[in-house]
């Protein structure tokens, strides 16, 4: 791996601290409890999967950890920084990909990337080298001058990943990064995530795809804002007495529906 690779985070963080620690993290919207007191610890360098049905609190959790939402109660630290008090330090240390494509349709691939790289503090030749390396590793070089709005789903997600990792963040938050992306592109996307993880980047990812869940080192199952299970992709089905992760998913959904009825 060269110095300009996608991996090898260099953003300054407290290397001793876990990537994520949450204590009683809670978020309510009026009477609705989106996240009900979450306790979670994610180690450095883990690829951690957050699973659960729509409305189970995955996105709300990520949004609190990235500073987009203010928690109603509890506390959390990301790469050693407190989310309530040290948000600006967190922002320089993390990368984030939202469910919805958040880049500029009317800028080209390279313009979007340059914009984010500059915002993250890269300058001059260092920035241009880093951009070239990212475009190469994500196969985006032939599309550098294409308007982002005209890219198909998989390419958009790669561009979003390039922008989110321009500054080599220590921690990457990916909220359903492969929704609506074809299988080949999904596989390629996960290869890149592994490269990042091998370089020491911690990845917190939410997904609805069970094959992707199986690729994570550890999983957390959320249901109606509560942590239902935590463990490796092998441990989780055993814990619920189900043959696969998918069966766990369906079983939890069934319990949800029964509780709601």
């Amino acid at each position: 791996m060269t110095d300009h690779s996608v991996s090898a985070p260099t953003a300054p963080t407290d290397a001793q601290a876990p990537a994520v620690v949450t204590r009683g993290l809670r978020k309510t919207f009026g009477a609705f409890v989106a996240v009900a007191g979450l306790d979670l610890t994610i180690a450095r360098g883990e690829v951690f999967g957050l699973l659960g049905a729509n409305g189970s609190g995955k996105t709300t959790t990520i949004r609190m950890l990235t500073g987009l939402l203010t928690p109603s109660a509890g506390s959390a630290a990301v790469v050693g920084f407190d989310i309530a008090r040290e948000q600006e330090s967190i922002r320089q240390a993390i990368g984030y990909m939202s469910q919805k494509f958040g880049l500029y349709d009317d800028l080209t691939v390279v313009e979007n990337l340059r914009f984010y790289a500059t915002i993250y503090g890269l300058r001059g030749a260092v920035r241009e080298d880093r951009m070239r390396a990212l475009l190469d590793e994500l196969d985006l070089t032939p599309r550098a001058k294409q308007m982002a709005g005209t890219l198909s789903g998989g390419w958009k997600q790669k561009l979003a990943l390039a922008c989110a990792t321009a500054h080599r963040p220590a921690m990457l938050f990916l909220d359903e990064p492969t929704a609506g992306v074809d299988p080949a592109a999904r596989r390629r996307f996960w290869e890149i995530i592994y490269v990042l993880a091998q370089g020491g980047t911690t990845v917190l990812v939410t997904t609805h795809y069970m094959d992707e869940a199986a690729r994570c080192q550890r999983l957390a199952f959320l249901s109606r804002g509560q942590l239902m299970a935590l463990g490796t992709p092998e441990e989780i089905p055993r814990h619920f007495g189900q043959p696969t992760i998918e069966d766990v998913f369906i079983e939890l959904q069934r319990r949800d529906d029964a509780a709601a009825a």
Partner: protein, 376 residues
């Protein structure tokens, strides 16, 4: 973070660069930014004529004398009345006024000349269609003045002495009394406030709607840099619009530019920033571009009606004057007309300039405060 720190902070520059690239690509909006001022200028400038000249006028001259002819000449020379024909009867005259063919009539009775000769007060009548008071007021005033002047002339001719008194009215700053000289400078202000406030608010709300704001919020870009980056390009747009209206106003309407343009451009900065501040404030209040547009239009009415753009503020009831006093446009109009028409300098305009700067500072500070780097 203060504005100065943000400008010094390099993160503002990528924001500016991005905005200019996007602006350049959005050809339609760009065309509208220059096209709308031009069209509005033509609309307002040509259509708004509160003074009416050249009313079509018919004459019922039953005197048919040299005195009646000289009175008609005096009336015609005011420029308010175009003599379009003669009628023979009252009935015919009434007909023409009712149908709108004529909007004024001069009636001179048979004994007009003989009354003058015998030293009696001769009577003549000018009938004006005053259904529209605004259209007829100038003609009415002109007619009375012309009559009085002719009367005084005859009187002094009789006595051989100079008339005892003469009042000369000097319409300063706009001697030809052209409405467009008054309206067109105002259009600069109206246009700037409407378009700037609307594009600013929509430009931020658009980022929120498309989800690009969320991606921006999780970066280390500071709130101040984010907002300045969105707003500063529109300062340039504002100056371009202003220049377009000034140049077209000069070419199409020959509006006077008597005072110092550098002074005008300088004070304009406060006005532009104040309007961008209102736009930013709107963007923190609404969720969609449609709502932003509606609020923008809502701001349009008080700006046009209460700022003194079309109607004099002194004539308004007090509450309307108070609302007018809360609009930056009210003060900017003073500046525009002061510099362009009256050639007055900062010694007369410092108060308005100061108020505009105050508006700008308070509005920007308020919207930066209200803008939250979270989405909840």
């Amino acid at each position: 973070m203060s504005v100065i720190e943000s400008i010094a902070e390099w993160r503002l520059w990528p924001m500016l660069r991005k905005e200019f690239i996007q602006m350049r690509r959005d050809r339609l909006t760009l065309a509208m930014m220059v096209g709308i001022p031009a069209v509005q200028l033509a609309l307002f400038g040509f259509a708004i004529r509160t003074e009416v000249r050249h009313l079509p006028t018919v004459v019922l001259d039953e005197s048919r004398s040299s005195e009646s002819r000289s009175l008609i000449a005096v009336i015609r020379n005011t420029g308010n009345f175009d003599i379009v024909g003669a009628v023979q009867s009252r009935a015919e005259l009434t007909n023409l006024l009712a149908s709108g063919t004529a909007q004024a009539a001069v009636v001179i009775p048979p004994e007009f000349q003989s009354d003058i000769k015998r030293g009696r007060t001769a009577q003549a009548q000018i009938i004006v269609d005053a259904a529209d008071p605004m259209a007829s007021s100038a003609a009415i005033a002109g007619a009375s003045l012309a009559g009085a002047a002719r009367g005084a002339e005859i009187a002094s001719g009789r006595t051989g002495r100079a008339p005892p008194l003469e009042v000369r009215v000097r319409p300063w700053y706009n001697p030809a009394m052209r409405t467009e000289a008054y309206i067109v400078p105002g259009i600069i202000g109206v246009l700037l406030s409407l378009t700037l406030l609307m594009i600013t608010s929509m430009s931020i709300v658009r980022e929120r709607e498309r989800g690009t704001l969320e991606q921006l919020i999780v970066t280390p870009l500071s709130k101040t840099s984010l907002m300045l980056g969105k707003v500063l390009p529109f300062v340039v747009v504002g100056y371009v619009q202003m220049t377009v209206v000034l140049v077209l106003g000069k070419l199409l309407f020959d509006i006077p530019i008597r005072g110092s343009l550098p002074l005008l451009y300088l004070i304009t900065l406060g006005f532009i920033v104040a309007n961008l501040g209102i736009g930013l404030l709107i963007s923190t209040l609404v969720g969609t571009q449609v709502q932003a547009m509606q609020l923008g239009f809502f701001m349009m009415m008080p700006n046009i009606l209460l700022s003194g753009f079309m109607f004099p503020r002194v004539a308004m009831p007090e509450p309307a004057q108070w609302i007018g006093a809360m609009l930056p446009l009210t003060y900017y109009l003073e500046v525009l007309r002061g510099v362009l028409l009256k050639d007055v300098g900062i010694e007369y305009l410092w108060r308005d300039a100061l108020i505009l700067m105050l508006f700008a500072t308070v509005l920007i500070a308020l919207s930066v405060r209200r803008f939250s780097k979270t989405v909840d």
